[in-house]
Symmetry: C2
C-alpha cells in the first residue's frame, strides 16, 4: 500500500479497488476463495480491521460473499440467483413464478443508434439480438429481447439453445458478472406482432421493462426490453 499517494482516499477504499481489479483481471475468478482478512491485510500492509472494512463493503456491493467459518469468495451467479434476483415477477399470491423459455431466436446485426449509445460501443458496431418467449404455469407471459455487443460475446449465436438464466452464461462463458440493473417500467398496449406472439388481444396492457444490466465497473453488458402479461402476475419491488 505504499505506491499510491495519499490524496485523502481511505485505505480501505484502495483495498476495495485492488480486490475489484483482481476480479476484473481474472486473477480471481467467480467462486474463488479470497485470502483471509488477516492475510489480505498483511499482504497489502494494512491492519486486519481495514481489510475487513473493505471486504464488508465488497460484500454489500454484491461482489463477494462471506460465510463465517468458511471464508470469503468471489460472488457466483448461480442459475437460481441470476434468474430470481433480477426476475421480479411473482404470482398475485406472492409466490415465486418460474419462467420457462419456449421460443428463442438469436441473430447478429448492426446496432441501432440507441443500442450502441446504451452499450457504449462505436456507431455501426455489430450486436447480437436474443429474442425469447417465455411461459409461466403453461401460459405465455413474456417476450424479451436482449442486445449484446457482438465483440464481447463471440460465438454466442452458435451455441444452440441458451440456458434459462442468460446471466449465468455471460459469467461462465464470457466472464461478465451482472451485479446491478437499472430498469424503466411502463404500461403499453400490445402491438399486433406482440399480440400474436403471446396469443393475446391486440391492445392488451403489457408491462414494458427496459433494462440496463451492469457489471462491477459500471459498463452496460446487456440492454434488454421485456414485455410481460401481468394478468396473474405482478412485478415486485422494495424501496428503502
Amino acid at each position: 500500500m505504499d505506491t499510491a499517494r495519499n490524496a485523502s482516499v481511505p485505505l480501505y477504499r484502495r483495498v476495495y479497488e485492488i480486490v475489484v481489479q483482481r476480479i476484473v483481471s481474472g486473477e480471481l475468478r467467480p467462486g474463488a476463495m479470497l485470502p483471509s482478512e488477516t492475510d489480505l491485510g498483511a499482504e497489502l500492509g494494512v491492519s486486519q480491521g481495514t481489510a475487513r472494512k473493505a471486504l464488508i463493503e465488497l460484500e454489500q456491493s454484491g461482489v463477494i460473499e462471506r460465510r463465517q467459518g468458511r471464508g470469503t469468495f468471489v460472488a457466483t451467479t448461480t442459475p437460481e440467483s441470476a434468474l430470481f434476483h433480477f426476475f421480479r415477477l411473482r404470482r398475485t399470491d406472492g409466490t415465486q413464478a418460474i419462467p420457462e423459455p419456449l421460443e428463442e431466436t438469436v441473430r447478429k446485426r448492426r446496432g441501432t443508434a440507441k443500442e450502441v449509445a446504451v452499450l457504449g460501443c462505436d456507431k455501426g458496431s455489430s450486436v447480437f439480438e436474443i429474442a425469447r418467449v417465455r411461459s409461466i404455469d403453461g401460459r405465455l407471459v413474456s417476450r424479451e429481447t436482449s442486445i449484446l455487443q457482438a465483440r464481447l460475446f463471440p460465438g454466442i449465436g452458435d451455441r444452440g439453445p441458451l440456458p434459462n438464466a442468460l446471466y449465468t452464461l455471460y459469467q461462465q462463458a464470457y466472464g461478465f458478472a451482472v451485479v446491478r440493473a437499472e430498469e424503466k417500467l411502463r404500461a403499453v398496449p400490445a402491438s399486433e406482432a406482440i399480440a400474436s406472439a403471446l396469443e393475446i388481444a391486440e391492445g392488451t396492457p403489457l408491462m414494458e421493462v427496459e433494462r440496463r444490466a451492469l457489471d462491477i465497473t459500471g459498463r452496460v453488458i446487456e440492454f434488454r426490453l421485456s414485455l410481460y402479461v401481468t394478468d396473474d402476475l405482478s412485478y415486485n419491488v422494495t424501496l428503502k
Copy 2:
C-alpha cells in the same frame, strides 16, 4: 447494557434497538441530535466502536443521518425527500417529474377485508380513504388512493387541503416515519371511471402500483393503490 442476558445477540444490535426505541417512543424526535459516538457508548456501557457500528447500521436503515463535524440526527422526512424518494416516475429523458395534486377527497369508512388485513387492524375497523388526482407538466397522470387506519390518524379528514407529500404529514402531525415501501406493479386497462377521471380513453394501459408503506417497526402505515399514465413517463428502479 447489563440488564439483558446475552442470548448471542451482538452488543451493537442491542444499541441499535435501544436507539430505535427512543425514536419510536418520541424521546428522540425527527431532526433531534443524538449523543456523540463516545457519549452514547459511555452511557450504554459499550465502547465507542460498538456504538459507532450501531449508528452506521441505523444510518444504512435510513433511520438517522450522520454528517462529519456536525453530528448524528434522527432522519427527517422533508417534503422533497418524501416526495422523490418514494416517487419513482421520471420523464422519458430521465429528468425528475414534479407531480401536482389537482383534486382531493378524504372520507372515512369501514375498511374492506383486504384493507384491514394489510393494515393489520381489527375486522370492521374504520379507515380514512384519501383519493387524489395528480398532473405533471399540465397533463393528468395519476389517481392515487391511500388507506390509513382511522385510529392512528385522528382528524386527518378535517385539515383541509393536504400537502403534496403525505409522508411528511404522517411524520410531523402523527409521528409515523415511512422508511420502507413494498410495491407490486402491474399493467392494467383503464376502467370507465378511471378513464373519465384522467380524461383518457377507456382501456388505455395504466401502470398499477400497490404499495405498502412501512415504519421502523415494520408496521404498515399506509396502503396505497396508484394508477399512472405512462405515455411520457416511466417508473425507474435499480436492482442490486
